[in-house]
Amino acid sequence: MIRRGSLGLRLLGLAALWVVLALVGAGIALTDLFRNHVEAELSRHMELHLDEVTAALARQPDGTLAPVRALTDPRFNRPLSGLYWQVSDGGEALARSRSLWDQSLPMAGPVADDGAVHRRGVATGPDGARLLVWERRVHLPDGGAPLDVAVASQGGSVEAATGSFARALALSLGILALGLLAAAVAQVRLGLVPLDRLRQALGEMRAGRVARVVGAFPSEVQPLVDDLNQVLDDNAEMVERARTQAGNLAHALKTPLAVITNSVAALGNADSARVIAAETDRMRSQIDRHLTRARAAAMARGAGLRTPIGPLVAGLARTIARLHPDRPLDIRVSGDDALLFRGEGQDLQEMVGNLMENAAKWCAGSIRVTLSAAGEKALSITVADDGPGIPDDRRDTVLARGIRLDEAMPGSGLGLAIVDDLARLYGGGLELGQDEALGGLAARLVLPRA
C-alpha cells in the first residue's frame, strides 16, 4: 500500500522524524534533570556530613584536632571508601578521616571566610579517583585560628546513577517510539483509506464496470471526484451528441442519395447514368464506413464499457434468419455466451452482424458462431459457414481494402473490411481461414475482453 513517493510514506517519514526528535530531546532533558537532582541530593548529604564533622571537632589537650564523637557514616573510617573529611588551616592538613589513610585531600588554597559551604569542582582522591569536594571555613568556639573543613565524595557515583538512569530511560523511550511509530502507521493507513477507495472506484470505472466514480469521499477529495465525474458526464454527453449528429448526417445524406439513385435508374443505361450510379454507391459506402469508424473511435477511447456478447449475437442470429425467409438458415451459436466485450454494443453488433451477413450470403445453409475466451484479456468470435470460402491468396486482398480507403471498390459495400477496421480500432483483429468442419470461410474476430 505504501510506495515510494507515496503520501503514506511521506506522512510516515514525517511522523518518524518528529517522534525521534521529540523523544531524543525528552531523553536529554530528563537525564539532565536527573543528574541535577542526584547532585543536589549529594550536596545536601555532603553538607550534613560537613556539619557533623564540624560539630564533632574539638581541640585536644595536646593541641591536635580530632572528632570527639564517632561519625555516623562508617565509610569515614574505612580506608579508601570514597567518603573523606579533612581539616586544614588553609595550607597544612591538621586532621583527616581514617578513610584517607596516609593521603590528604589536595588543597586549593584558603576558603573564603563567609560561613558558606563551597563546592569545589574536582580533585584527585587517594586512589586516583575523581572527587567532589565541599568545604567551609569555620571558627571553633575555643577562639583558635579559623579552620577549613572539607568533605569529599567520589564523583563517579553521580555518573553511575545518571548512566543507569539514562539507560533505563533510553529503553523505555525506545519502546515508546516504536509504539508511536506503530500508531503513526495505523493512522496513515486509516487516514488514507478514502484515497484507497477512490483508487478502487477509478479502477472500477477504468475496467468499465461503472460509468462514473461512485461513492462519497472526504471533503478534501470530493471536489476532485465531482470534477472528474463532471468531465466524464460531459465526455459521455459529447460522444452521445456526436453520435446523434453522425446519425442525423447519415439520415440527411442517405435519403437524397436514394432519390439520386432512383432518378438515375430512370435515365436508363446511358454511360453517364452508370457513372452516377457507381459514384452514389461509392458515396454510400464511404458515408457508412466513415460514420461507423468515427463513432467507434469515439467509443473505443472513451471510458470503458462492457457488453455481454451472448444476447447481442443471439439477436443478430434471429434477425439474419428473419432477413432470409426464403432460405432457411441453420444458424447455431455455441460457446461461452457470458463473455463480456470491453467496448460498445453497437460496434460489436456491426462487426458480428457483417460477418454473419457475409456468411448468410455465401453459405449453403449452415452458419456456426463460436464464442470463446482467448486468454484473460481477449475473446474470440468465430463465424463459420459451409459456403465456398475465400482462397488463401485472396484473403489478404479482402482485408487490405479495409486499410486503404481510396481503393474501396464501388459497390463493394462494407463487409469484411469495416469489420477489420473496427476490430483494429479496439486493438483486436480479424483473421480469415477455412473452417475444418463446414469447409467454408471461418472469420475469427479477436476483441478485448472485460
Binding site: K254, T255, R284, G315, R318, G353
Partner: protein
C-alpha cells in the same frame, strides 16, 4: 394489392409512389408517423414501406403500435439508419424486412413482392390457377401461354384473388385492396372489373359465391 408508404422526404415519396404504381399497386402515402399509424390501424394494407426517421412519431413506435394491436401486414423498413443495432431493433419490433437507404428500386420491388407472396402463403414468384398464370415480378398475365393485357385495376383484382386462392374474397375486401384511400370507391365497379376479367381471360376461373364474393380454385 394495396400498399402504404410512410416516408417524410417528398421527393423520395413521389419516386416510391410512381415506381409502386407502375408496378400495379394501389398506393397510399403518409408523410409523418401519426398519419402512418392511423392509416395502418384503419386500412387493410397488403404491405407497408416504413421509414424509421419519421416526423411527429418514430417509425419503430408506429410499428410496435400496429403489432400491439394485432395488425399483421408485412412491413418493410426502408431507412437511412443502417446499423445492425437498428436492424435488430427493427426486426424485433415486428418488421418483416429491412432495406437501408440508398437502395435500388428493383430490389425494393422484389422484396415487396416476396413479402406479399409469403403473407398470402405463396412461395413461387409466378402464380397459376388453371390455365391462368400471373408473373408477380412483371405483372404479366397469360392464359395457356397466351399473353393477356389488363388495366391496372383489373390486374390488382386478379392479383389479389390469385394471392388468396381457395378463399372467398368479399367485394368490400376487394375494394379495400384495389383502391388507394383517396380514390372515389364504388363497390359496384368491382363487378364491372370481374366481368371484364372473365371476358379477357376467356376461361371460367373466377367463381361467384352468391352474397359472399368471389373465389379462385386453390388447385393450380
Amino acid at each position: 394489392m394495396r400498399l402504404l408508404i410512410a416516408e417524410d422526404d417528398p421527393e423520395l415519396r413521389r419516386q416510391l409512389r410512381e415506381a409502386l404504381e407502375a408496378a400495379h399497386y394501389a398506393v397510399d402515402c403518409a408523410p409523418d408517423g401519426e398519419e402512418a399509424a392511423f392509416l395502418g390501424e384503419t386500412e387493410p394494407y397488403d404491405a407497408v414501406v416504413l421509414d424509421l426517421g419519421l416526423p411527429r412519431r418514430d417509425g419503430l413506435s408506429v410499428l410496435r403500435g400496429w403489432r400491439g394491436q394485432g395488425r399483421t401486414m408485412p412491413v418493410l423498413i426502408l431507412t437511412a439508419r443502417g446499423t445492425w443495432q437498428e436492424k435488430v431493433e427493427g426486426m424485433d419490433a415486428g418488421a418483416d424486412d429491412y432495406l437501408a437507404k440508398p437502395f435500388r428500386m428493383e430490389e425494393l420491388l422484389a422484396r415487396l413482392r416476396a413479402l406479399i407472396r409469403r403473407a398470402g402463403g405463396q412461395a413461387a414468384a409466378e402464380l397459376t390457377c388453371g390455365p391462368v398464370s400471373l408473373d408477380t415480378r412483371t405483372g404479366r398475365v397469360s392464359v395457356s401461354g397466351r399473353p393477356v393485357t389488363l388495366t391496372a385495376h383489373e390486374l390488382r383484382v386478379l392479383s389479389y384473388l390469385m394471392h388468396h386462392r381457395g378463399r372467398v374474397v368479399s367485394r368490400t375486401e376487394l375494394t379495400e385492396h384495389v383502391y388507394a384511400q383517396d380514390f372515389d370507391r364504388d363497390s359496384n365497379t368491382i363487378e364491372v372489373f370481374i366481368g371484364r376479367l372473365r371476358r379477357k381471360l376467356g376461361v371460367d376461373v373466377i367463381h361467384t359465391e352468391r352474397g359472399l364474393g368471389y373465389r379462385l380454385d386453390a388447385a393450380p
